[in-house]
Symmetry: C2
Subunit: 338 residues, 2 copies
């Protein structure tokens, strides 16, 4: 049993990690051929499974550079479960895939502890995962992460563009900074065009760059799901790559456009810094970063204040950021209020 280890794959280190993950996740069934999730269908008439897969992009390279691996797993879960939530579904369970060049158990434990934290925030269950040791695949210290979330919704309650009306209010839920998108541009601006140190703190930012850039992506399940259940939310856009323009466009029906009033919410200082340092056009900015809104929720006007208040009670920072107008699936960010 030595040849495989000499070739760079340590199966026993893998087994040790599985034990560690079992303890972290408190799911002793991990490690069998497939993860089990009993379905409780009591209240579902026509259950639909809603699933999503995602990674965290090159935010990983910041975690690697900063040697801080405990929160990147939260980002991973967030990217997946917020997508599931955006369809109106309740996340049920999650699996993670970790690809490494050489298995470093302490680092892997840090990474998976973030996954466990994220799954807890999403009120879901970690049912499985794979840690793949792949010598020669990743350069030293690099790893990749992929996540998979499955949720459930009643077919009739899936959120749909069809239910949107002219005049519907757009509520923006504050992001926790950059979340997990645009990091190739971030790295290009800060570390290739310029030579910033991760220990620097940019003007207006509370944290030094390594902690600012690694702020974990917000998971909106706890605050938003109860309002979906009550039928108070009509549509949701999870703001990821492509920013407001592309992600909000995905929820619009043919006959409506979305109009945002720039200035009606707070744009994080890190993005203003990146725009300034990288001399980015506003077009670049809005198509790459979330501009401070991690999720945009469309609601009928008569429940807008109610929904806003409930979300705030759950701890969200919520802005009334715009409305739906007659149009053709355009996303307009009006800057005249600045």
């Amino acid at each position: 049993m030595d040849a495989y280890k000499k070739a760079g794959v340590d199966i026993n280190a893998g087994y040790k990690l599985v034990d560690d993950i079992k303890n972290l996740s408190k799911n002793s069934a991990l490690g069998s051929f497939g993860g089990l999730f009993p379905l409780e269908l009591g209240t579902y008439q026509n259950p639909v499974l809603v699933s999503g897969t995602d990674g965290v992009g090159t935010k990983l390279l910041i975690a690697i550079k900063a040697n801080l691996h405990k929160t990147i797993g939260i980002d991973l879960v967030a990217m997946c479960v917020n997508d599931v939530l955006a369809q109106g579904a309740k996340p049920l369970f999650f699996l993670d895939y970790l690809g490494v060049g050489h298995l470093d158990n302490d680092k892997a434990k840090d990474i998976v502890s973030g996954v466990v934290e994220g799954v807890s925030q999403a009120q879901a269950k970690l049912v499985g995962g794979e840690t793949a040791e792949m010598p020669d695949m990743y350069t030293d210290g690099h790893y990749d992460l992929a996540g998979f979330a499955v949720g459930i919704a009643d077919k009739a309650k899936l959120l749909s563009a069809k239910n949107l009306r002219e005049g519907d209010v757009l509520l923006g839920l504050a992001s926790n900074g950059l979340h997990s998108n645009g990091f190739s541009l971030v790295r290009d601006i800060l570390f290739k065009q310029h030579d910033y140190s991760l220990d620097e703190t940019l003007p207006g930012c509370e944290l030094d760059l390594k902690h600012e850039l690694l702020r974990p992506t917000k998971i909106y399940v706890k605050s938003v799901l109860p309002l979906i259940d009550k039928g108070k939310i009509t549509a949701i856009a999870h703001i990821t790559g492509g920013g407001l323009p592309e992600n909000v466009a995905r929820i619009l029906p043919d006959n409506l456009s979305a109009e945002f009033n720039y200035g009606s919410w707070k744009v994080p200082a890190i993005m203003e810094n990146l725009q300034r340092i990288g001399q980015l056009s506003f077009d670049d900015l809005k198509h790459t970063f979330n501009l401070g809104l991690g999720m945009v929720v469309a609601v009928h006007p008569d429940v807008a204040e109610d929904v806003k208040a409930e979300l705030e009670k759950s701890g969200e920072t919520v802005y009334r950021v715009g409305k739906l107008v007659s149009g053709h699936q355009e996303v307009i960010i009006r800057k005249d209020q600045q």
Copy 2:
């Protein structure tokens, strides 16, 4: 919208790929926030979702070296759905994650066409996926693949070690060569310790090395699932990393061991070559490669011949490879019949 592209991420190339994948998979709903799968629960009393995630290890590096990317997606699906099947569940749907340094649409299309083929062989549905372009993450031409499968079973029909008895027969289903495990050792032996060309054909092998090594992993769903449905199969081990010893041990109860008669099935020529060239001990060989058996099925003796005949009718090559004996979860490979 140019800054992000200059930083190495081409969002438009990504959109083009999504369109290509929609066409390949004939699933026009791909590209929304989450993949939808309506559950039809007519016949399930207590439905349990069974999920699995996996990658294909450094078999990827062979595909990259050979510049042949059309079948690696089959391996990906196989690694996941065979795990789901091994629990007694019917695979329902699949999602894939493809991480690349720079998005090459033609290569990505080849990769995903393999995924689509694998999903079809597994009688499942591709409901989503993610292609992540990550500059600086992967060295030139490298990519990683992760897959995620969800299946369903009735709780009472999940395969379980509890139903195994002394004297149960072990049927081995022929693998299609190496499948997706042990490739770091394969690469070490053939391309580091020695300098074989991918165009060479090793003694006893039908194909040259690139095609021999890239034979896609068998997907056993079509042949095995009908027998699970009929209640004729008691337990299944999907033979992956760790070989027969570790994967068969996972299905054994405390009081039983598995005894294999080496020589009762055909070991693929590629493995004999690897043992010879790499001077591997039998211990190394059996803990790293599948030895020619991609799946081991435990059945009660009175249905063994019946199950074997049905599997053969479905196109499988099936061997009676051993039996369960009283013991303590040991996997014994008896070589005295050689």
